[in-house]
Point group: C2
Chain length 410, copies 2
């Protein structure tokens, strides 16, 4: 019932060889919850075997975070370790690759004061911005994988004993991360080719907008001028081809920050930095959210939207068929990396520079409709009841999704 060490090692191999495609001599900065140490250790071994310079793990611990909410004076929640985030930005400037292991309890902060959570997140986002820009701008090869922490497993399988819950979550992670076969690197090459074919078709259509319809949803998402579809492996600005997200099932691009209109209902709960936000319903006009409701976590949602002007506009739209392996698992992972790959989704906040043709400057990106913000938060709007039409500049409509599945073969 333990975590399969062979598959855990393959996950580390995939993170280093596919996710990062770590180059000889490249340093690696690795963030992870301390409980993920078994995976951290395997990643360090694969990274050094691949010729890494120095591997630097920065480990976090939920109990330390919770001690802050339990004991800290009020002023604490407006501060962040700037020196650490500035240092990370410097590391990325020096071509250090970045690997994050996800796996924290998705409801860790659910009993903390939401106002303090929002302030601490804002302070952290501000401090992290220079480093995040280099990741969002794809300056370097980066990757995120997951580890089945007991605290997370308990949330996904609340009725199982802890050991069984961890083993089940581990199996789901291994399946979604395509490390079940003997040659996971080859499995990823095949998968990447399929995603690339979808992107080529969408780029060829050159839609002006996408129209989502379904229960509680009638949303037109304008696409940024010169947008480009991305999915699977792509090339970072440092020239290295990598797979930032493992797992990944999505193809995605940049919406137009001023051309999103209508209303949309989330199809899955959103776990945002330790709080669960359920039944999100929002209305957009001229690109911005004008109304936002949730049956749970509404305060956190509204504080999130109020982070800055760009926090109420879209930075990403992504298409995922309802038949994706993660959706087929039937699990709610309470983790965006997984749940976003089970359904079509949109993200509030910062857009990705790589989702434009021709490597535009930040000023050009803004002029073409790219959004900027301290945040980037994905939430799920797809299901087997959602249809999507692509609308071309001349008004022609093309069926893109029907009942949650691709409407066209590629």
């Amino acid at each position: 019932m333990a975590i399969d060490p062979v598959k855990l090692d393959r996950l580390a191999q995939v993170a280093v060889k596919v996710g990062l495609n770590l180059q000889e001599g490249q340093d690696l900065l690795l963030t992870a919850p301390a409980e993920a140490l078994p995976l951290v250790r395997r990643i360090a071994a694969h990274a050094y075997a691949a010729g890494a310079g120095v591997v630097t793990p920065i480990l976090s611990d939920p109990q330390v975070t919770l001690a802050r909410y339990a004991h800290a004076r009020d002023e604490s929640f407006d501060s962040a370790p700037d020196w650490l985030f500035e240092g990370m930005a410097k590391a990325f400037d020096a071509n250090t690759a970045r690997l994050a292991i996800a796996g924290d309890d998705p409801l860790m902060l659910s009993s903390a004061d939401p106002a303090k959570v929002a302030r601490a997140n804002r302070a952290q986002s501000r401090a992290y911005k220079p480093a995040l820009k280099k990741i969002a701008g794809f300056d370097i090869n980066w990757n995120i994988v997951s580890y089945p922490n007991p605290d997370w497993a308990r949330r996904v399988f609340p009725d199982l004993p802890e050991e069984e819950a961890v083993a089940r979550l581990a199996d789901a992670i291994f399946a979604a991360s395509r490390v079940e076969g003997d040659d996971p690197v080859a499995a990823w090459a095949t998968h990447n080719a399929q995603l690339h074919a979808r992107c080529a078709w969408l780029d060829g259509q050159a839609f002006r907008s996408l129209h989502f319809t379904g229960p509680g949803t009638d949303l037109t998402v304008g696409l940024a001028d010169g947008h480009r579809w991305q999915g699977g492996a792509s090339v970072a600005r440092n020239g290295i081809t990598c797979n930032p997200n493992i797992p990944t099932e999505e193809v995605f691009t940049t919406p137009h920050a001023l051309r999103v209109d209508g209303h949309v209902s989330a199809t899955k709960p959103l776990s945002h930095q330790g709080t669960l936000i359920e039944d999100i319903r929002v209305t957009f006009a001229g690109g911005a959210i004008t109304e936002a409701h949730a049956s749970r976590g509404q305060d956190v949602l509204r504080q999130l939207i109020d982070t800055d002007d760009g926090a109420r506009r879209l930075g990403e739209v992504a298409l995922v068929p309802h038949s994706s392996p993660i959706s087929a698992s039937g699990l709610l992972f309470l983790n965006t990396l997984y749940d976003e790959n089970a359904a079509c989704h949109i993200a509030l906040g910062q857009c990705y520079a790589k989702c434009f043709h021709g490597d535009p400057t930040p000023e050009q990106i803004q002029a073409q409709g790219g959004n900027s913000s301290l945040i980037h938060v994905d939430w799920m709007i797809g299901s087997d009841q959602v249809d999507i039409d692509g609308i071309k500049p001349d008004g022609e409509r093309v069926a893109v999704f029907r009942k949650g599945e691709w409407a066209q073969a590629v």
Copy 2:
């Protein structure tokens, strides 16, 4: 047989209230092995309760370090995460307090290639220098305490089952750290007063040098001009009175970098960054080591001495009675923080600026005989067979230690 949670909590309290004397609003940077998380968590709670801004743990893991020696390409051993150490220096510039939890396996690197260990240490020392200067220069309040890691406990009690070894080491740490009683903060106030009385007596004597004699030892250690004796709580440059070392039994000052002559035999093995160096015998002339031998780890010793010019000269001399509680425990901790407090010792490398009267500049410190180096490595030369005379500028001799004990009452 587990680690007593009440005493562990008191150790965290002593680290924060006595060791650091953490101030309201002050940030805390905490380095620790990941296995010390139970203590990290209690320290975070006490730090936030004391009004800390942000507590940032930087956790290390021996398996990640060992993965490097097992798998890394040769060039790796000349690099270090400069961005992290630069960041630490910045944090200290912003008055962040520094707490280190010791507890790694003292023999962690004993089967690694000594040449690679030396290169990695040199690269790390170079990167760490700006931050270490602020600690050695006592710019900020800092503290080091210990946690009974299983890997360490196994080395101290090789014949006991792991759980029993950890419990025994925990008890020894709690006793040495004076957290056995209900009011450990008061116990530390009494202990500090006693150490301060010893320093006052030694400062009053104003010795020009100390003469150590014992089996295999006849060493004259000249003292720096304007040297000051330190021990117990002292005031950092940021104005905060703290206890850098917990435990601490020593009083110490700065030798003269050019006036150390004779030969000396270590009385305990030295555990240096994962390697055990045994039976050290060295000869000094004009302040510098001219010959160095060891029955084990001689290569590591010689590479250490070759780090830079200051690495072969002394930066500290410290007096500890043989009857100190740590010595009385009869244990060899294989950890300098403990073993140095069981015996008189000297340190190769960087001197402490606080061991001078009148707050001199770095140039003045050098002119007065203070040593500078990338390293600071203590090793034990005291035992119940060692005598020490203090020699005054006019040649008068005063008995300081006889058979390892203070010769004078204060």
